[in-house]
Amino acid sequence: MPDELLPNAGRRSFLVRSTTMAGAGFLSIALPPALGGSDAEAAISATPAYTPSIWFTITPDGVTTMHIVKAEMGQHIGTAFAQIIAEELEVPWEKVRLDMPLESNENFGIYGLAYTVNSGSVTTEFDRLSRAGALGRMVLVEAGAKLLGAKLDKCYASAGRVIDKASKRSVGYGDILQKVKLEKSFSYPNDFKAVKLKARSEYKIIGKSVPALDIPAKTNGSAKYAMDVFLPNMAYGALAIPRTRHMSKVLSVDDSAAKSIPGYLKSVVIADHMNKCMGWVVALAETYPAALAASKALKIETDPGPYGNLSLADIKAEFAELLDKPEEAANWVLEGDVEGSMTGADKTLDVEYSSDMICHAFMEPINCTVMQASDGSWHVHVGTQSTSFARMTLTAYLSMVTGKKQEELSVFVHQYLVGGGFGGKQDYDDVLAAAYCAHELGRPVKFIQSRESQFAISHPRTPTLHRLKAGIQDGKMTAMSHDMVSGWMGPRFAVGKKFNNGTDWLQLDSWDDKKQDIDQWSVGGSDHWYHVPNHRVRAWNSDRTTWAIQASALRTVSNSYNMFVVESFMDEAAHAAGRDPLEFRLSMLNGKGGNRGIPNTGYAPGTPSDYYLDQIWISLPWPTDKSWPEYESGTVGGALRLANCLRVAAGKAGWGSKKLPKGTGMGLAVSSAEERQSPTWVAGVAEVTVDTTTGVYKINKLTIAMDMGIAINPENVKAQIMGSALWGAGQVLSERLDYENGLLKQTNFHEYKPVRQVDVPEFDIELIQSGRHPMGVGEPASTIVAPAVANAIFAACGARVRHMPITPEAVLEALKAAKA
C-alpha cells in the first residue's frame, strides 16, 4: 500500500512484538481476550529513537512524542496524558508532541483496546502512565550518570537533562541518545510494579495549566478531522433518509431522476449483515453536492418494518403499563424493608417523573472515508470513540460481504480529531456503509451524513418514566423507592447473556436471588450516596424502545436523567419533611455503611452497583494478581466528599444568606457521575428567575464545586466543567427529540436547539483538589444543572416540574397545580 496513506506507518517499525488477535469479538462492545502480561511488551526501535514502553518515544533531538490511544474529542486528553508522562519522565514541556497510533490487528495486541468513554481516560491510565514515565527516566539517568562519569545515586533528572549533584555537570536526553544505544525496554505489567513514583507534592507539570497541544491547529484551520480526508480517485456518498429509524427494508430503488444529475455514479443498497444500516440507500457521485442531490432524487420503495406506525405516545403508554408489572422488574438496589417502612411512616410522597429523548448533535456530522488498497488491505479514515471496535466490527462485516475468513482480512483504522463525540461516535454504521460502497464501486468512498440524515439516524438517549415514593418519619427519609422504565441500551450493544449467547460482561445480575439481567447503563445514578436505611430501585426494560429508536449512551449515560429525577425528588422530600434542602441533604450524606467508599479498585463487595467496571474502559487490562499495586479508588471518602462539595457550592452561592428578588430562587443538586464505582464528586447551585406570567425562566448563575482528586490541568478542568454544565442547561431548557411513525422528527438546528451564546449564565467554579486519585471531568457537571434549575424554579415560584426538558408551558401548568 502507498505509504502516504498510512500516516503512522513509520511507527510500526518499533512495534516488532505483537500478539495476534485474530478471532477477537467483533461486537460493538467486547473485551479483548486476556493479553497475558508480557505479551504486551514493547520493543526497541531500529533507529536511535528510544521507546522504553509503548506510550512514548524520545528522539535524539530531545523531542518526546506521546502515543495517545484515546480519542481527542474536545477534552484535550492528549495534553493530559502527556502531562502525566512528562511529570515522571522529566522532559521539558516545550519539546512534547502527540501522535495517534494506527489501529491494526497488530497494534491492538500492543496498545490494547482503543476506546474513549465513561470519563474514564485519566482515571484508568494515570497510574500506568506515571509508571511508564518513571521507568523511562530511570534508564536515562543511569545512562547519563555513566556518560558524566558520576555516581548513579548522585544523579537526578530534570527538564530533559541528567544532572550530577556532586559536579553540577549535566547531559541532555537528546545527547544521551546520540551517544549511547539504549536497549532497555520494559514489559508491561511485570516491570511496572516496583517503580517508585513521585510524591504528589513534587509535581511540576501535573497541576499546571499548560496550553493544550491540540489548540493552535484549531484556530487556523489546519486541524484535521476525518471530514478533511482526500484519497486519490475518491467518490462521495450521501444517505437517502430511511423510512424508519430501524428495520426498514428496501424493496426497490428508482434512480432515473438521479441519473440526470451530473456526476451521479450509482446508488447502493447497503448489505445489512449486522442490522446497523437497515433500509440504507447511499447515492454515490463524483462530488458531495451531487451525491446529496442524488440521494434526494432517489425514489425508494420501502417496507417500513415493525416500527412504521410507532410513535413516542405509544412508547410512553407502554412505559406506564410496564411499571404496573412488578414481576417483570429487576432490582438494582434493595436495602432494608421498603414496603414495611413506608407503611409505618408519618408521611409518604408519591410522584412520577419523566424525561424526553435528546441526541448528541455533535458539530461534526458522522463521516468516514474507506479505501481498499492495491494489496487488498482496507483503510478506514474516521474520527471515532473506538478505532478498535471500528476495526473489529468492519472486519466481521467484510467477512460476511466478501465471504473471506476474518483472519484473511487486513483492516487499518486511521484516527483523526473528533468534532464532538459525547457518547455518539461508537456505532460504526458509517464505517460499514462507506466500506460497502467502496467495495461496490471499486473506488475509495467518502461518506458524509448531511445534518438531516445525521438527525434521522442519531442514537438518542432513551425516554424514561419513573415512579418515586418516600417514607418520612420524624422529619427523616426512612424509605425510598424508585421504579424506572426505559429502553436499555446495553442489549443493543449486544453484551448481555440474554441477548448474546453467553457473553455476560456488562449485563449484570439483579441484586437479589431473582437473578434477572439488569443494564447498569440504564440505571446508574439511581444508586445515590444518600443514607436511606430502606432503599429500593427497580428497573424495567422496554426492549421495543431500545431497538426502535436505537437507544445509546449520551454524556453520563443514565445519570443524565437519573440525577434530574433523584435530585428533584430529594428537594421535594426535604420540603415534605419541613427541612431546608441543604441541611436535609447534608444529614443524609453522612458516609455511613456502603456510602463510606471503598479503599482500592478491584474491590467487589458483591452488590451490582459496587461492581468495578472501569476495567472495561482501559486500553490494556489490569493484571489480576494481587502483587499489583492497586491504585486508590475514586470512591475513597464516599458521601463525605460529596457533602463537602455541597457545602462549598452552597456557601459560595450564598445559600440562605443572599437576598433574592421576588421571582428568583436557588436550587441545589449533587451528583457522583459517572458510575457509582467511578464517581467524580460535584455539587451545584442554580440561581433562576421565573416570569410567572409566561413561564419563561432564565438561569442567572451556576455555582459549581467539584472534587476530582488531582486536577491534571486546572484551567482545562474549568473549561470542561463550564462546557458540560451548559450541556446540562440545554437538556433542561430546550433540547428535545420527537419520534413519530418510526422516525426521529427533528431535522436540523432550527428544530433541535442546543444552548447558544445568549443562554450563558454567570459561572462561579471551585475546584476542590483533594489530592485523591484523579477522576474524569468531561461529563459529571452536566448532570447537576437540570435538577438544580428545577429546584430553583420551585424555590422561585412554587412550580414543581417533574419532566425534562422544562418548558415555559410546563412551568405555568405546575404553577396552576400549586395554587389549586
Binding site: 489548540i215 484556530t219 486541524a223 455533535f362 464532538g420 462546557g723 442546543p754 450563558v760
Partner: protein, 156 residues
Amino acid sequence: MTNLTINGRSLASDSPPDTPLLWVLREELRMTGTRFGCGLGVCGACTVHINGQAVRSCQVKLEQVGSGAITTIEGLHPSNAHPVQRAWIEIQVPQCGYCQSGQIMQAASLLAQNPSPSDKQIQEAMNGNLCRCATYPRIAGAVKRAAQMMKEKKNA
C-alpha cells in the same frame, strides 16, 4: 469555470454555478478549515468573509460570489497572528474545535466593524454560531481580549 479571489489569490472553480461556496472551498479547492455543520445556515461552522462581511458559505452559491473577495480561516492568518486567533489561544477557547473556524471568522468580522463591542453586542453577534462543547464563556472572553489587543496595537 468561475474565477474567485480567495485569501488574495486568484483561483478557479469547475463546480456548477449553483454549488454552495462551502463545498467549492472544502472539497474542490481543499481548503478544509471551513467546516460543514448544518447546510442550512443555522450553525455558523462554515462562516467565511466576503468583502469583510461574515457569511454562511453553505448559503452562498458560487454564482453569487462574483468579484467578492473571499477570506477563509486559512487566510485570516496561517500562523495564528491575527488578534482574534491570538486571543483564542491565550484564553484556550477550543475544545473539539470543529466550530471554531466559524466562531473566529464571525468574531473577526464583528471586531472589524465594531472595535469595542459591549457584552450584549458580542452575545448577539456570536449567537448564530453553535458550539456543542459550549465554549461560549471563553468565546465571549476571547472576543473582548482580541478587542483589547487590537486597541493596544493601534495605540502602540
